[in-house]
Symmetry: C3
Subunit: 161 residues, 3 copies
């Protein structure tokens, strides 16, 4: 089986640079925390290739369309993979995705959060295959997200010993 | 000690059929993901015995009453148990409940989410007893949930080796 | 290295008494659930030294200021440490913080949840140091929290075997 990095290269999907925070913000925590064979991935948002947060901003169903939110979930997934690669050295160290928690800043009448999060799940399955890439998932519509992002995703993976 | 299935039978609580998604929806993830001795349970909603999502729909405190929300939390718990049984073969493989995260789609002035989630916690303790059934829990009021559900619950259990 | 309890004493930060629930409320779950070397910490809110829930109540950005919310996140962290100490006997049993999930009841235009949660992260790092205290984190703005609290935090730690 090809490495996740090889699949990403074939798909033409480079991983973004490290997160560049908006001025005056400090995030005193680990983007990826490894304890034993578990790697816990902090909540990420969509980023541009240079690591700046990617728009559009606002609530899905009002300021942001469903299609834009799916694209944001996809960019968020790439941002998580970038953080994982920098922390782990290689994405091939991932033995199994375990859990994805997806948060969608939603207008009160938008309840297609699962469609938005499929932008993450589909990409994980494409890159890691159906066994390593399988994951439990919850999708939630929340009032508002940090930096007015439309999508935030946290996740957990299990590493090879 | 009697098996969880025996307690469910005594309580007259059959587990529902597998989730039947609304037309046009695809959920490309695992309802239960087993990694080692951990089983991670995706966000579930209340279902009817045939697996269709159960109403009432909408926000608790506005469209859905507190009592209806407690009943929805109970149905959601049965849906999770159905998914666990199909994945594990037997609920007796569960050594310990570890974590319950309960999400309640809430009107802005409804803050009795813990009462709603007790519909889940009380049932788990009744079925699994105070040692296996004990769990950490968080209850949150969110803006809106997938499919306009009033309640969504995700959880994690530890399995016998 | 000094014990977490010694650091708390030096900082003049006593841990609060056990949570005193509002009348008529029952929470049938474990505030801390230990399974193997993992301790899962239920969602906590800010408490006064005597264990009663601490105000101000309401939504950050409307009823509660950002500075008050940072203070609430700090009190919530002390409440979690109190629960951990009662469950574990000693905070020195904590080998690593792994995960913090911070929920901020937010007005629709408040998106500085990370600043609020830094009240938790900064205190954990001060008490446990940069290695034990490091953690993955997600911050979310939600519609409404139990008991109308402005902040709720759940977390997970890994224990020494």
């Amino acid at each position: 089986m090809r490495s996740p990095e090889a699949v990403l290269a074939q798909l033409g999907l480079p991983l973004p640079a490290p997160l560049q925070l908006p001025a005056g913000t400090s995030l005193p925590f680990a983007l990826v925390r490894v304890v034993g064979t578990r790697a816990l991935i902090s909540g990420h948002g969509p980023t541009l290739p240079d690591g700046r947060l990617a728009g559009p901003f606002g609530k899905v169903g009002a300021d942001v369309s469903e299609a834009e939110a799916v694209a944001a979930a996809r960019l968020t997934t790439l941002a998580m993979l970038g953080s994982l690669q920098r922390q782990l050295g290689s994405l091939a160290r991932i033995r199994a995705w375990t859990k994805v928690l997806g948060l969608v800043a939603s207008s009160p009448d938008f309840h297609r959060q699962p469609v938005v999060l499929n932008g993450c799940s589909d990409l994980l399955l494409q890159i890691f295959g159906p066994e390593v890439g399988a994951h439990a998932r919850s999708a939630i519509g929340v009032a508002v997200l940090p930096f007015n992002l439309p999508v935030e995703i946290e996740a957990e993976v299990e590493l090879h010993p």
